[in-house]
Symmetry: C2
Subunit: 247 residues, 2 copies
């Protein structure tokens, strides 16, 4: 019997090495882009358009979008939102469309645009992601946003959590060393993700920006029952609304 | 007081992201190129020239070199040697010059050619490598050869062993997530590297080629007191002979 496989790519830079036909790509940027996207979609945001450049984000303002952007962890000047999950939970965003540009996360999403299917993952919606993948039964690649094209620990831990759950089901296989490494790291860290990440360089960087509350939120597992996916026009929408989004 | 740092790069593909001035690069391809190079230099081979292509390797034959080459784990047709460490221990190779091309290892060495200093590492000469690095007190990058530009476990474990020893000395620092991940994986695996790697895809690949004896050798820690380094002409020589090699 055919069993789909699960692979893990540690950075968008390496994505071309892993790219395959008919692959479902789960993009993750735990701190904080994909956690914020999950929070926004769960809050009832209509759609989120990931864009790479600041100028591109600004151009969406004229189309009625709320403009969100961050570079190196800080909100961009003149932008309504950065990438704090809490800012994506504001009541006034319900039903709105957002254009979002971030240091790593939106770049990762854009790099996988040719994939058959892209879903947005984070610890906050881990179960929604794995449940969907177990139903789809297609080859899966977890694409970590990393930090400026380098490996980072927090995205790798999420990848390990996904790979662990899929392999434990007995319905998936892997011959991917990075998936195996990610699982080992996740199993080491899962008891206390936050204290484990105290030693990660990303945590050190974000610590300087006083983001303790955001980090705690982003490391909370299964907080949201939501599955953001890319629709055929490149908008991130709620999976359950994928076929009836009005833009 | 200045403390040098230790970073780990999981594949030659990502090396440009880690490249810095005044950096010592330790290249590792545990299975089997750098293990074989250590075995050859310890055996008294005069020099080893790493080359990328099969044609380039052949061209060295006319200059009196022994030609060694492997692709996907198998000896190249018409070549005297592959990359089995045992073949590099043959008595007849003492004093000889070898041109070597392999799937991953020689590519990794060539990719770092611009580095100030390149040394060749493997589990068999782990202590010689770390002892040298502790004396040098310069920034260190362990460059893993990986498998066709992807992450692999065995090279990462070696990187973790090096990073662990340098940081334990208190003389080095790191803010590199991949170094931290490598240390965690090494500490998990160090009790029995071989059984740990039973699950690695590389081991599965090599298992098919009946290389049990080679694998056991390559995972033996500190078997050799030897430090192969690149000289200014691109030849790998014994560090102690670096200044008086006759070619």
């Amino acid at each position: 019997m055919f069993k789909p496989d699960i692979q893990v790519c540690f950075s968008p830079h390496s994505y071309p090495l892993f790219q395959e036909q008919n692959q479902v790509v789960v993009v993750v940027d735990v701190l904080r882009a994909t956690s914020a996207i999950c929070a926004g979609i769960a809050n009832g945001v209509n759609s989120i358009m990931p864009v790479e450049t600041i100028e591109e984000a600004k151009s969406y303002r004229q189309k009625g979008f709320v403009v969100a952007g961050e570079r190196n962890g800080e909100v961009l000047e003149g932008f309504e939102l950065g990438n704090s999950p809490f800012s994506f939970m504001e009541e006034k965003l319900k039903g709105k469309n957002i254009a979002l540009t971030t240091t790593n996360g939106t770049k990762a999403i854009k790099s996988a645009y040719q994939a058959e299917s892209i879903i947005i993952g984070a610890f906050v919606n881990l179960h929604s992601v794995t449940e969907h993948l177990l139903t789809l039964k297609k080859n899966v690649l977890v694409l970590c946003a990393g930090w400026k094209d380098k490996f980072n620990l927090e995205d790798t831990l999420f990848a390990g959590a996904v790979a662990n759950e899929l392999l434990s089901s007995g319905m998936f296989v892997t011959s991917c060393d990075s998936a195996r490494a990610a699982i080992l790291l996740y199993n080491h860290a899962k008891g206390n993700l936050e204290s484990f990440l105290i030693d990660s360089s990303h945590r050190e960087r974000l610590g300087k920006l006083n983001l303790q509350k955001d980090i705690e939120y982003c490391l909370t597992v299964n907080k949201l029952n939501v599955l953001p996916v890319l629709d055929k026009n490149g908008f991130i929408v709620n999976k359950t609304q994928q076929n009836n989004v009005l833009l």
